[in-house]
Amino acid sequence: MSTIPQSLAIPGILARDEQIILADWLKEMTTATRRGDLIKDNELRAQCGQFLKLVRLATQTAGSNFKASVWDPVREMLADVSRSRALQGFSPTETATFVFSLKRPLFIRIQEEYKGQPDAMATELWAATELLDEMGLYTTEVYQKSREEVIRRQQEELLELSTPVVKLWDGVVALPLIGTLDSARTQVVMESLLQAIVQTNSRVAIIDITGVPTVDTVVAQHLLKTVTAARLMGADCIISGVRPQIAQTIVHLGINLLEVTTKATLAAAFSVALQRLGVQFVKETPKS
């Protein structure tokens, strides 16, 4: 009678009944949370077969000690499966069920193996449960990690996308800001604006905050920093697109924007910029 979980019956059962377990397992998954729309049958079958083989190899040498290095291939495979499912759009439950649905077929085998030996059966079942739970939790963990990676990558992309500097006129650049300004974004905004000023040799820079939903003291501070940096390089900064509500907030918060030229619309700011460059537009009157 085996009292130590390491001397498992699982490898023996797996070696003998691999095909039966595989068939049962696939059936189990079909009834549970099989997503035929997201993964093909033969693909799933190959995945399961490969998984069972790896588990058998690992249990033969290291028992149910999931932390052992012999389990590395299994862990890698679980991580792969979990990651690909996260990207394919499976839910966390569906991903973890990949492992958990193995329980029933495996338990049935163990029950048959230890008929009439309740003590041994309990030990084996306990070891198998522990092992499968650990693997299931591991898939969930990897699933979450890969989702977080996706979110982080999207954040970075958003950062890049959201700071375009456009040239309006020879010597005038504009930076339309959209979304909330935090420190990380301000840094990117400031750098790209200053870089654009150097590249286009612009004397006037317009920062348009029409798309900024709220201006608090932190955002205002960031804006002022950008304006000061541009001034240090020898470019004038105009802040445009100040909505009435934002004007009220700025005054209520006691933010001093007196040293900065502010305009209500981008058009007004642009005309000031042209004035500073000495450019004039004359409307053509039709000759009678």
Binding site: I197, V198, N201, S202, K225, A229, R231, M233, G234
Partner: protein, 109 residues
Amino acid sequence: MGNYLLVTIQVDMHDRLAMALQEDLTQMISDTEARGVLIDISSLEIVDSFIGRMLGNIAAMSRVLDAETVVVGMQPAVAITLVELGLSLAGVRTALNVDAGMDLLKAAV
């Protein structure tokens, strides 16, 4: 150049060099009765708070000696550093390049 003094900083400034520049420049302004000083820092890539304050000081001293100071060609990285250090160089005129700086000086003097 006529009534103007032109200073080009080509090397990384260290503290003693900045002090020497301040000495020489003030001496030069009073000797030549210059009306304007143009400092080109386009090759300067690293600044610290001391150099930042030095630039402000030089501008203030020149003003006492009746000369306008224009700092031209500041690199973006330098500008960001100065702002993060809390130095806005309030009394200093700035321009994008030497040409724009000369125009500014001619207009001011």
